[in-house]
Amino acid sequence: MTLEESAKALIVAANCVLALAFVAYVAQWGFARNVVPDRELVGAGAPASSPEEVAEERSDVAGGIGFSLTVLATLVLLAGVVARALAAERVPWGNMYEFGSVAILVALTAYVVLVRIWSIDWVGPIITGFGTMVLGASMLVYVPAGPLVPALDSYWLVIHVLGAIISGSAFLVGAAASALFLVKARAEANTAEADRAGFLWRIPSSAAIDQVAYRVHAFAFPIWTFAALIAGPIWAHYAWGRYWGWDPKEVWAFITWVVYAGYLHARATAGWKGKAASILALVGFATFVFNFVGVNLFVGGLHSYAK
């Protein structure tokens, strides 16, 4: 088995583990669908006996398995990405397949770290589900490891693309939190106190989720600004002889930037706080994904070797 084949096999294996992690996380939510939160049962510590206690314990176990599998998937993916880099003898983000796998690696790492510091395991199903989808779909654009075309052969590849990967991964975590914020805020407004059962009531309040979403976006936005509007133009100057040329990739990078700028403004605008701002965060992430998938595959332009 060559290094390149090992890389491919490891990334496929990571995807399988990640899919299992997703199933475990879904089970975590599913088991707890009837569990009422914060109702401390008398005689805590006694063996679980009531159906509710059994369900709660199953949910916890499933969540633990989900997290462990996510960590495992991250490590296997890391091994795959490193093998890919060794096979190609360069940084492993020179085309669409590689960008997808590294972006998911960074997103999973960010998730694992944030679970440790902010306990955000509640975005697990979205992160693992989306990651499984991206890693699976990236097999459709698989290309063998190889050297780069001259335009990509620059140290700006390391700076510009890594910046895009880091901010893109953070946008994914932010979008997942914003989506859950919308679900939770809606449930908080529409569910009577007595009907509040299920995993949704075991995760933090919508205000706390919004706080996580804001922090992640506040981290990602300056990096995106740097990657798309500083490093990108400088590299474009050297590679193509102009700083900014409204290439489709540049247009969509700009659109993403503007939408996230809108998100940050919306958070400070009466009538836009909360729901509308969170929807903007999701729109921003959608424009990022379109730039990655739509522009690469269907629109073309100077960045089209990103395939």
Partner: protein, 528 residues
């Protein structure tokens, strides 16, 4: 003489200004800008790829005129797109100016006095200590760290039954948030100004230079040239360059066979002083993709390359009527190229040739035209159709060197009526119908050089870099007010602490707990 309409107009202006500079309008304009940018990525843009626009026009004859009217082929210079960003710019400046004034006042302002009832604030706490009021206030000051702090010395105030001693600490931190916010927004204005200046004073042109040929930086030497409104052609920095070698290498095998691996143009260049004095000594250059040549404020980029077959034409009278390298423009990844050869001086009649060049020709069948299988010149082949007549090059109207003006030309045909085509490999000579010969002497490569300058580009780059630092400050710093009130009650001091974030956040209670821990470690040891 009724002053009312005048007042109304002023009110109207005031109202319009307020609306335009409100956050809600800024948000709306931002989202509008995002939507307005979309069509330019889906419809080809004449400023980006003029050839794609032409192809689009041919493919969509019904739709294209409508898109033209909407400016969809030049979205980013269209009136409606410009209108949005100009409004956004006005809104931005209308936001920056008043906020800067407010900020300038806030910078000098002292922290506000403590509210009466701490319980109404989002986070507050109370504890007792044996330390004196003075000690408590001093400890609070230390625990607040780098915040702006005012300590109000203990005073005797009327208490229940008797006078009690009471003092407070007022603190405000996080002024840098607004500093960063203003820096970021001002830097955006600077970026736009810098980009506009670069566009007004800058220029960009390109020229095709075959190996062995030279280029000197004058308008007549360019194949195409565009410049800003304030650019003066006399400002073109005088320099000349000689291209000795164009080096194009491609992947020879494997799944990426044919992919480009290296493009380089090498030779020598010399700069000429503005005063017309002698040129500096020639210096070598090695221009590659990602590695342009800098000559003063001008950059020379290698933006393309291709092949220039060297063609020699001898006319029917036996004279060499033409011998030169002719650039053929590549049209695909295997460098299938097209071009024309103009021989106006051939006798008795002018000769014109139009055809293709294939760097690695492979024939696909007996009667099929050959195709190019690989971008490097492994098996070069030129195929040319022959025309006779007046090429129209002497009548004074400028002509493209890549197009044959066929108005006064007749295509030469074989006896069976099919167009005559000559196919030549290097060194081959073909007889021309009606006398004379054509020879493919050899194949050279050409470099397409772009020469451009965007003056003051440092301004937007530095501005946005500073802007990002401001952005980080504005997104990460918490503007916070903290108050501590200490009141002596017998042998104990009652301490009240409250915090208020000017941008509400969810982590306030946790931050208050952390502050209390710091605060209490600063207090003197409890005495019994």
């Amino acid at each position: 003489m009724n002053p009312a309409p005048e007042l109304n107009r002023r009110e109207m202006l005031r109202w319009t200004w307020r609306q335009l500079t409100s956050m809600r309008t800024a948000l709306f304009l931002l989202l509008l800008l995002a939507i307005a940018a979309v069509p330019g990525s889906l419809v080809p843009q004449s400023g980006v790829d003029a050839r794609a626009v032409e192809a689009y026009r041919l493919d969509h004859p019904e739709l294209a005129p409508w898109l033209d009217r909407l400016g969809a082929f030049s979205v980013y210079t269209s009136p409606w797109f410009s209108a949005i960003y100009l409004l956004l710019m006005v809104s931005l400046i209308g936001c920056i100016v008043p906020r800067t004034i407010v900020y300038a006042k806030a910078v000098r302002a002292r922290p506000p006095r403590a509210p009466k009832n701490f319980g109404r604030l989002p986070a507050s706490a109370t504890f007792e200590t044996s330390a004196s009021v003075d000690d408590v206030l001093a400890a609070g000051h230390r625990a607040l760290g780098r915040a702006r702090v005012d300590v109000v010395a203990p005073v005797r105030v009327p208490g229940p039954g008797r006078q009690i001693e009471q003092g407070e600490v007022r603190a405000e931190s996080g002024h840098l948030r607004e500093t960063g916010n203003l820096i970021f927004h001002i830097s955006i204005v600077a970026v736009l100004v810098g980009v506009a200046m670069g566009a007004l004073y800058g220029y960009r042109g390109s020229a095709i230079v075959t190996e062995g040929d030279g280029f000197s930086n004058a308008l007549t030497q360019y194949d195409d040239f565009a410049s800003g409104a304030l650019f003066n052609p006399d400002d073109l920095p005088p320099f000349s360059m000689q291209v000795d070698e164009v080096d194009a290498r491609f992947q020879m095998s494997g799944p990426q066979r044919g992919a480009p691996r290296l493009f380089a143009a090498r030779g020598e260049y010399e700069t000429l002083p503005h005063d017309g004095g002698p040129a500096d000594d020639p210096r070598p250059f090695d221009i590659r993709v990602n590695h342009p040549l800098q000559v003063g404020g001008t950059s020379v980029f290698l933006v393309g390359q291709g092949y220039s077959p060297v063609i020699k034409v001898t006319d029917a009278e036996g004279n060499v009527a033409f011998e030169d390298a002719v650039p053929f423009l590549p049209s695909d990844g295997t460098y299938t190229s097209t071009g024309v050869v103009k021989v106006p001086d051939a006798q008795p009649e002018g000769l014109g040739f139009q055809g293709f060049f294939l760097p690695t020709a492979v024939s696909t069948g007996e009667d099929e035209a050959p195709v190019s299988a690989f971008p490097a010149a492994a098996n070069p082949l030129v195929g040319l159709f022959v025309f006779r007549g007046d090429l129209g090059v002497d009548d004074g109207t400028p002509q493209s060197v890549y197009v044959l003006d066929k108005d006064e030309l007749t295509q030469v045909k074989n006896a069976d009526g099919t167009p005559t085509r000559v196919s030549l490999s290097p060194g081959q000579v073909a007889d021309l119908p009606g006398g004379g010969t054509i020879e493919l002497v050899g194949v050279k490569q050409f470099a397409r050089l772009q020469i451009s300058s965007s003056p003051m580009v440092q301004l937007p780059l530095v501005a946005i870099a500073v802007g990002v630092l401001g952005l980080v400050l504005s997104l990460s710093i918490k503007p916070r007010r903290t108050w501590i009130r200490a009141r002596r009650n017998g042998s104990r001091t009652v301490v009240e602490v409250a915090v208020l974030d000017r941008v509400p956040r969810g982590d306030l209670p946790a931050d208050l707990d952390a502050f209390l821990t710091r605060f209490r470690t600063e207090l003197p040891e409890e005495t019994a």
